[in-house]
């Protein structure tokens, strides 16, 4: 993360402001966040800054996190549900360096969680903030490439086209063939992209006690779900939305309800299924749950 001559090794990044961004920029982002909270699901344009990590790698989430962090915060960063994936590590280290805040891998202990592609399994609480990294904030983008046109469609609530897409899915495949980034309607008004979370996570968006913030850096948009917002996944009455997952239990902790990753374990293509939320899986094993291929927690830790 060495970017400029201003950084002295060992001295941290003391010449940068707390959480990297200058206060003016943070204020600008906070204004956008407040507006987003006031109009749930509406994409608020904001003057995204260049960050020292590439666009598309979480710059939107990082800016939102930077604008929200206070020194007392305890930060958790996950990518694909895991705390130890490379990009999660990279972002967590960035804030350790630039903000010096405490970090944790435990969902329940975190006050602010930045995520890419998952919502933690452990239910969130009213004193937590969940920040999503968003690549393409516009749910209508792949139906209508023009920003000028999609903004008009949102403002006039013209969402027929969105259902045409779902209709086409069913007529071709017999089911809605959107597995992630599954579009939702917020409080009966704005159609919103929930970021590329698997549709399994969609129900957790609704009625959530935590504040949910969505940051898209390259596309310069912030949107939000205030606590207890009603979020409905789009569907048809006779083809209702289904939050599906692999029809298996976690091989390590035995959970039958968590979202699972499929891991190829040998050359013959043998595979096993394990929790994508690593903290959830660890906590269950610590509490004594053992899956078909798991071992009791103490042994694994040895």
């Amino acid at each position: 993360m060495s970017i400029s001559g201003k950084m002295k090794p060992g001295a941290g990044m003391t010449e940068y402001n707390f959480a990297y961004l200058d206060e003016q920029t943070k204020r600008m982002i906070r204004r956008a966040i407040l507006k987003a909270l006031a109009i749930p699901g509406y994409q608020v344009p904001f003057a995204s800054r260049e960050m020292p990590m590439p666009y598309g790698w979480g710059t939107g989430g990082v800016q939102v996190t930077a604008a929200c962090l206070v020194p007392e915060d305890r930060l958790k960063v996950i990518d694909q549900g895991a705390d130890d994936t490379t990009n999660a590590v990279s972002i967590r280290k960035f804030f350790e360096k630039t903000a010096g805040v405490a970090t944790t891998e435990e969902t329940a202990r975190a006050s602010l969680i930045q995520t890419r592609h998952r919502i933690p399994e452990t239910p969130l609480t009213g004193d937590q903030v969940l920040v999503y990294q968003v690549p393409i904030p516009e749910p209508l983008r792949f139906l209508e490439p023009r920003e000028t046109e999609t903004r008009k469609m949102h403002s006039l609530e013209e969402y027929g086209l969105m259902h045409v897409k779902l209709y086409e899915d069913i007529s071709r495949h017999g089911a809605i063939s959107t597995a992630y980034a599954y579009p939702v309607k917020v409080e009966g008004r704005y159609v919103m992209d929930p970021s590329p979370i698997p549709k399994f996570d969609n129900p957790k968006l609704s009625d959530c006690p935590a504040i949910q913030l969505f940051g898209a850096g390259r596309e310069q948009r912030i949107y939000a779900l205030p606590p207890y917002t009603k979020v409905v996944s789009l569907d048809f009455e006779d083809h209702p939305f289904e939050a599906s997952k692999a029809d298996q239990d976690c091989a390590l902790c035995g959970s039958a309800t968590s979202y699972l990753d499929e891991v190829i374990v040998d050359d013959a293509g043998g595979r096993m299924f394990v929790c994508s939320d690593t903290d959830y899986c660890r906590a269950r094993r610590a509490a004594g749950h053992v899956g078909a291929q798991g071992v009791p927690h103490e042994e694994a830790g040895a």
């Binding site: 609530e157 027929g160 009455e237 006779d238």
Partner: protein, 256 residues
């Protein structure tokens, strides 16, 4: 009775050039108005100005809405106008490609307007789409095919189904038979006439083809250089044209 559409002194200019000017007429429920003229006569400009695709520079287009009675379309907010255009109004383009989603199946094309106004039952939407395909003589087993696989005549019929599925009261048609073979034209005209009668539709049809208005229109307006030069009952105008230009128009057809 209130006219469904009252057109008052509509004018549209392109820079200093006149598109159309001084156009006024009433359209009554269930009535079909034909607008004829050669290309450049202003008939397409007039249609675009009436149907909300273009904002006229002057005049009023007053529509008898279901809930609020007569309202000047120009004074409506954009959401209101767009809602009107996908519920009570329909617009059939000359080129079906302009009026269809070519990448979406026939069923999706017909279903779009239903979904836009809140239909959320896949089975019902599909059933109504299949029903409408039947009414425009497209076989039910083509419901999942894209319009790109259809002939020109089928595309035009699909466009008509897509427009009529929400039961509009007013249909604007721009050369609906243009670009089709003569035999295909005849079949399409027959179909249109049936649908207009059956649904009690009001329509404004722009065409250069007098055979089309002879078959479909109750009344006729003849346009030349952006102005209406003659108007009246279709048979009257065609059988006993008063204006020299109309006489020319009629006789040129008769010679063919």
């Amino acid at each position: 009775m209130t006219p469904l559409l009252q057109v008052r002194d509509v004018a549209k200019f392109y820079g200093g050039r006149r598109g159309c000017e001084d156009v006024s007429f009433d359209l009554w429920p269930g009535e079909v108005m034909g607008i004829v003229g050669e290309s450049g006569s202003g008939k397409s400009t007039l249609l675009a100005s009436l149907s909300g695709q273009m904002a006229p520079d002057r005049g009023a287009v007053i529509y008898d809405t279901r809930d609020r009675g007569p309202v000047d379309v120009r004074a409506m907010s954009e959401p209101e106008r767009r809602m009107l255009m996908r519920t009570d109004w329909a617009l059939v383009h000359q080129n079906p490609r302009d009026g269809l989603r070519m990448g979406v199946s026939a069923g999706g094309n017909v279903g779009e307007r239903l979904m836009a106004v809140g239909a959320r039952h896949y089975g019902d939407i599909r059933a109504r789409a299949v029903d409408w395909l039947g009414r425009v003589e497209i076989a039910a087993d083509r419901v999942d095919d894209r319009p790109t696989a259809f002939s020109g005549g089928m595309q035009q019929r699909l466009q008509i189904a897509r427009n009529l599925v929400t039961g509009p009261r007013l249909v604007f048609m721009d050369e609906p038979t243009g670009g089709l073979d003569v035999s295909v034209q005849a079949r399409l005209l027959d179909l249109l006439r049936g649908l207009v009668r059956e649904m009690g539709l009001s329509a404004v049809i722009v065409t250069h083809d007098l055979a089309v208005v002879r078959l479909l229109a109750d009344r006729l307006m003849v346009m030349k250089e952006g102005r209406v030069i003659e108007a009246g009952l279709t048979d009257q105008v065609l059988d006993d044209p008063q204006h020299g230009y109309t006489q020319l128009l009629v006789s040129s057809v008769l010679q063919v």
